[in-house]
């Protein structure tokens, strides 16, 4: 019995980690190919963002700051896409900007994948406007508080902001119905909280990567009205959108599709953790029983 425990423990301890990578890859690919998805519903941290957009006054603009680069896009892009669809479905103009130098490319991807394909009737400058990236991080936010035109005299196409119907009545950040920062790091949501949300008392929400989530949860609900954390947060938002707007269920839901493989991968990781601990337990038992 002792020998058997010892052998199994030794085998588990010596297991080549490449087997773990292989099993993980096979499970993720199988889950993607089978199209399995994990049913979700919006938690109390995500739901307020959805509710805020639903209850905005007619035509109130939403500022969406895409503060991420391609390396974080798999987690944050589904949030940008879902928010864009929600805003356009409810008739709220979207104003895109970014604190990241790669932000313009991220905005273009959302425009192409969602606005061009799903909302061909949307009119530039009326339904959405792209301010793009400007250097400065927190100083940029600071200067936009009183006047957007101080740092953005025109949008990315060169159109003066005074000629943009989407921003009619907007002078500074405080005039937006909602500000959402989808943040991969610094500058990002933290700077939006410090330099806009807490100063102007403007409704502020965020989306963040899984790595960054523990940093932002303490700000909820006093300083941010909601937080979407990683792919799970995006999937919850998609679930809320699908429930409130049945027409959205036919649309592309990348986060919901991604949650199936994600859950499967988590199960594999949990299984390997249990296996590793079982090995330790067997080793412990073998040592205890040995004379």
């Amino acid at each position: 019995m002792n020998d058997r425990c010892d052998r199994i423990a030794s085998w588990l301890e010596g297991l080549d980690r490449r087997w773990i990578f292989l099993v993980l890859a096979v499970v993720v690919v199988a889950a993607l190919l089978s199209g399995v998805s994990s049913p979700d519903r919006a938690t109390s941290v995500v739901q307020p963002i959805y509710d805020r957009i639903e209850n905005l006054p007619d035509g109130a603009p939403i500022l969406l700051s895409l503060d991420y680069s391609p390396s974080s896009a798999p987690e944050l892009e589904p949030m940008a896409e879902a928010l864009t669809q929600h805003a356009l479905l409810t008739g709220h103009p979207i104003c895109y900007m970014s604190l990241y130098p790669t932000g313009n490319n991220m905005i273009s991807r959302v425009e192409e994948r969602i606005i061009t394909r799903e909302f061909p009737q949307a009119v530039p400058a009326r339904d959405w406007v792209t301010l793009g990236f400007q250097v400065g991080g927190e100083m940029l936010i600071n200067s936009l508080r009183d006047s957007l035109t101080a740092r953005y005299p025109t949008d990315v196409t060169g159109r003066p902001l005074r000629d943009v119907p989407a921003l009619r009545g907007v002078r500074g950040l405080g005039d937006f119905g909602l500000i959402v920062s989808l943040s991969a790091g610094q500058p990002g949501l933290k700077e939006w909280i410090l330099y806009a949300g807490d100063v102007l008392d403007v409704p502020l929400a965020g989306g963040c990567t899984g790595v960054g989530a523990p940093q932002f949860f303490p700000y909820y609900p006093l300083q941010i009205l909601g937080l979407m954390s990683a792919l799970k947060g995006a999937a919850e938002y998609e679930a809320a959108l699908a429930r409130g707007h049945p027409e959205f269920t036919a649309a592309n839901q990348p986060a919901t599709r991604g949650m199936g493989p994600q859950s499967a991968a988590h199960l594999v990781i949990v299984a390997f953790i249990l296996l590793g601990n079982a090995g330790l337990l067997l080793r412990f038992l073998a040592r205890r029983r040995s004379p």
Partner: protein
């Protein structure tokens, strides 16, 4: 039902897919394909950030302010801006920073560093004090230990509030090193340690969740745009 493979004809998709596979190959062991992808990534990133830094920062925030006429090369249709003598200050500070390249003049580089540190610290102090200290204390105390709504005791909120308060206080007690942690005080500190461990566990789990999402994203790109079977 798995659809037939339909390989992409897009060169960009192929480059992305092959580089992804090269990086994944490191999971097997270090190899020339991984090294190639690694060097390409570092080189392209450095070049990209340099070009972006020039055109998004140096050009509009410095060159165009000191030499407005230069704008006719980058934006021929835009009216030229006004000369801004204030831009000479960041220009001078930037040049001083470059002095660090010469050992005899490197001390000059301390001036722009001091300027950046001083202004950032002074400017951020009030913001951090309010957002990360005062508001966080308010959030910890919250609505009190017995929140009510319409004459009803909200026991779930009350329990959550109690946990936050106890976790915060015991976590702080754990870090007080001027008193020996034994007896009742020690038990509070041990509870604080437990809270910290749970927090670190949650942070680690969240980080794993994020990394798995990135893995899923890469596989979606490989199976979707590249192989066309998603």
């Amino acid at each position: 039902m798995i659809a037939a493979i339909h390989l992409s004809g897009d060169v960009q998709v192929w480059i992305g897919a092959l580089l992804t596979l090269m990086v994944f190959s490191f999971l097997w062991r270090d190899n020339p394909f991984y090294k190639f992808a690694e060097h390409v990534f570092v080189g392209v990133s450095a070049a990209y950030w340099m070009v972006m830094g020039f055109w998004t920062t140096l050009w509009p925030a410095l060159v165009l302010k000191l030499f407005p006429a230069a704008g006719r090369w980058s934006s021929p249709d835009a009216p030229p801006g006004a000369w801004d003598p204030l831009a000479l200050i960041p220009a001078a500070l930037g040049l001083l920073m470059l002095a660090r390249l010469w050992p005899r003049l490197s001390w000059l580089g301390k001036w722009p560093t001091a300027f950046i540190l001083g202004t950032t610290a002074g400017y951020s102090l009030v913001r951090y004090l309010r957002s990360d200290f005062l508001y966080q204390i308010q959030a910890t105390i919250g609505t009190g230990l017995a929140p009510m709504a319409a004459g009803r005791w909200l026991w779930q909120e009350s329990l959550a509030q109690l946990l936050v308060l106890v976790g915060t206080v015991s976590g702080l007690v754990y870090f007080v090193n001027t008193r020996e942690q034994k007896g009742a005080y020690g038990r509070v500190a041990r509870w604080g340690l437990l809270v910290l461990m749970i927090t670190f566990g949650a942070s680690f789990g969240s980080a794993v969740m994020g990394r798995v999402a990135l893995l899923v994203g890469r596989f979606q790109e490989l199976l979707g745009p590249w192989l066309g079977i998603l």
